[in-house]
């Protein structure tokens, strides 16, 4: 059995709910189907301590319709990337940060807060990233229903109906 399959079997052994929801999609790439917040919080310490994925490369936010997907990508000393997909419903967009185990994810989780509107709790204090400080509340640019043409740059307001008229 190669290394990817070994990791998959160890994960399924420790967390039976993962059994059919994890697969080796391509060489060196392990993906999971969407898992809930609570399941994700259980898996993370195992991934960090037991499996040796010491670095959290990134978290990609995706708009999946009714929920926001947070694809956390971890890497280890070899070339394997483990992509855990946490799913957060849009009706209750909250998540817990993993920055106490992985300090290298802080900037990327801030991006999720600004661009997708998911409140990631547990981050240290710091400036907004990447949007400017005066950005209006409730505007999450990376959600599919946010149309850049409807955003009036003069008033910094999102016009719900029709196109925004720009002054010049």
């Amino acid at each position: 059995m190669n290394r990817e399959e070994e990791i998959v079997s160890r994960l399924c052994g420790a967390f039976p709910f993962l059994t059919d929801r994890i697969c080796v999609r391509q060489k060196n790439r392990i993906f999971t189907d969407p898992i809930t917040r609570e399941e994700f919080e259980q898996i993370i310490p195992f991934v960090h301590d037991q499996l040796g994925f010491y670095r959290a490369c990134h978290v990609v936010g995706t708009d999946d319709g009714d929920s926001i997907g947070l694809l956390y990508i971890f890497s280890d000393q070899d070339s394997i990337l483990l992509a855990l997909r946490e799913s957060v419903p849009k009706s209750d967009p909250q998540a817990k940060s993993i920055c106490n185990l992985y300090p290298s994810i802080i900037l990327h989780e801030r991006e999720i807060i600004d661009l997708f509107g998911v409140m990631v709790k547990g981050l240290p204090n710091g400036p907004h990233y990447p949007l400017p400080d005066g950005w209006p509340e409730g505007n999450y640019p990376m959600r599919k229903d946010w149309d850049p043409k409807k955003f009036n740059k003069q008033t910094m307001k999102y016009e719900q109906s029709g196109e925004a008229k720009e002054n010049g």
Binding site: F31, T62, I73, S79
Partner: protein
Amino acid sequence: MSSPGRQRKMAEINNNQIEFPIGPQHPSLDEPGCFDITLEGEKVVNAVVGVGYNHRGLEKTCESRTYVQDLYIIERVCGICSHAHSSAFCMGIEELSGVQIPPRAEYIRVIIAELERLHSHLLWLGVACHEVGFDTMFMFTWRNREKVLDILATMGGNRVNYGVNTIGGVRRDLDPASIDMLQKTLDTLEKEIKYYANLAKTETTLISRLAGVGKLSKEDVLKYGAVGPVARASGVRDDIRVIEPYGAYKEIPVHMITDDHADVFGRTVVRILEMQESINIIRFCIQNIPDGPIAVKVPRRIPAGEVIIRVEAPRGEDIHYIRSNGTDIPDRVRVRAPTEANWHGMTHMLTGEYLADVPITIAAIDPCYSCTDRAIRVSSGRDVEVMDWRTLRRYGIDFYRKKGIDLSTLAVGR
């Protein structure tokens, strides 16, 4: 022009501590970024890193354009690692469609990638020397960089953002004249780089500025997730060309350059040696490049799926995530540039340093502040107005017209 959320007072002397802003506009930064440093005398007590000034909304843009149009946008994420980004994007789409590109195209991609690494490291060397006040080296390295840019202009048509990649291969082939020019330039560059390596080891003032500055131990690199030359200078074996070879790197011998100094001096040494290694790789490629076509046709609609691609940009590990939904417009494109991973260790590196070390520490991670666009807010008294480029231009023309100068006849490139 300041945003109301971040009011800064100048020269606030409080308990012997001064708030010292580096940025958003500062001569030591190529691009805007804000580092609010708290100084006690000449020592840095605290540093708050604020980036995001260059946010341009690229990912949102990619979601409303086809893959071919997105290729040009992704290439312009960064001016200096443009080929790395476009290669990664192309590799992702080729993997999603299950297409194998011809070997000649793989080799050409590697040659351009290594040339890019050369000119990026030369640029970095010049900028680093400028940050420590050694303008002579700055001028010398940038003069040599011009030679590399001349080759890239001959091969690709442009000095940066060369547009060599296309989905399915490359667009331009190598012709004997440019290979000849390449060989001659590589010979000259090899001599110059040897001179720089010697200089870095023997010039006392330079060593006193670089050694012991911006320390990031091996444990800290693993903790803060640093990538690229920053990680390799602390002894961490992290080079995607060796760990997970892609494209023609599967057949080309690449030596990973690591160093144990774990400070800015180590990063300098790693980059200089990597330049020598790049020259060797290009020579190997020119000798062993196979003949054949340079591109294959890829269908416009890409089958649904998702893929994560890693390449070794000059600054480190570059990750691209592409999710497609079966149409010719991507569902989600995400670029994680290497600099984003290197920012996290910055506060740790800056605290406890002298003020004079701050610019070189920031420059040593080779920052490429690449993200989304920021609108400009002008606040005069109570009125707040947001300006985009057209409004700003009109504001400027009116301002000067009141003084009797008419600039409206100047042509502006759109």
